[in-house]
């Protein structure tokens, strides 16, 4: 399995790519079906997604809520374009609890041999927002680090 790549592009973009050993249709479904999203879009160990609403149609809204003990946060967004099974365009924001500026995301699923190459391109309003997001989006990663720290101490 090829490794994920995460790169900044220009001042306002973040591009993530990952290859999957499944058809574009399967990967697309795993990105739009709430029952499937709840199984994998969880970040580090310990987090669950008790609420996963995804109205997968143009103009549809989604809401993902994550929890880990007493900690929780959520993401809301709107789906702008859906091209089964090749492309999703949406906007999203994290609520921490104040909403972050809108992140505009285009996700492509292209057949690649026997699998799928996914490319997710995020566009933030400005360089400051992107820098803050790269710092703030690590809330959940931090939790995992604390757990690791507890193991060390």
């Amino acid at each position: 399995m090829s490794k994920m790549t995460l790169q900044t592009e220009g001042d306002t973009h973040i591009v993530i790519t990952r290859r999957f050993a499944a058809s574009p249709e399967a990967v697309y479904r795993a990105h739009t079906d709430p029952k499937l999203l709840q199984k994998w879009l969880l970040g580090p160990e310990g987090w669950t997604m008790p609420v996963c609403i995804n109205d997968a149609k143009p103009g549809g809204k989604f809401r993902y809520e994550w929890a880990n003990g007493k900690r929780s946060f959520h993401v809301t967004g709107e789906l702008l374009e859906l091209e089964p099974y090749s492309r999703i365009v949406h906007v999203e924001r994290m609520h921490l609890p104040d909403p972050t500026p809108d992140n505009h995301v285009e996700t492509r699923f292209d057949a690649d041999g026997t699998g799928t190459l996914m490319a997710m391109r995020m566009t933030l309003p400005d360089a400051h927002t992107r820098a803050s997001m790269l710092a703030t989006g690590m809330e959940r990663g931090m939790e995992a680090s604390y757990v690791r720290l507890e193991g060390i101490i």
Binding site: M1, K3, M4, L6, I16, R18, F20, A21, A22, S23, A26, V27, R29, A30, L36, K39, W40, L41, L42, G43, P44, E45, L96, A111, T114, A127, H128, A131, S132, L134, A135, T136, G137, M138, R140, G141, M142, A144, S145, Y146, L149, I152, I153
Partner: protein, 115 residues
């Protein structure tokens, strides 16, 4: 190599969204307290308090320039930000590793349809 207590101090300092935003701003270049306070709608004393936490954690250093004391990211601050980015990467990788398992367990297309 950081000692555990330094690492702990750095993570505690990074646990606050304002302090992470200050680090994100300083990652783009040095700035005075006044410049740092402007986008946050906070008073300069409040920003100074956050800066003290960041300085005590070894993430931010100050320089003397006449009457100004511009702050910049310390080497440790750059490393801490890199570490945060690495953690975001890990969080995403963990999710996608799970997605591999979900995809493997999803209904397979009929044999004849497999590419």
């Amino acid at each position: 190599m950081h000692s555990v207590s330094n690492l702990d101090a750095a993570f505690s300092a990074l646990a606050d969204p304002t302090r992470r935003a200050i680090l994100a701003r300083l990652a783009r270049g040095e700035a005075t307290v006044m410049e740092l306070a402007a986008p946050f709608e906070m008073t300069q004393p409040a920003i100074s308090q956050h800066l003290k936490v960041l300085e005590d954690a070894g993430l931010v250093v100050r320089r003397v320039d006449g009457t100004k004391r511009p702050r910049r990211l310390a080497k440790g601050g750059v490393e801490a930000m890199d570490q945060w980015l690495a953690m975001l990467r890990k969080a995403l990788e963990k999710s996608y590793d799970r997605l591999d398992e979900v995809l493997a367990s999803m209904d397979k297309p009929k044999r004849g349809e497999e590419r």
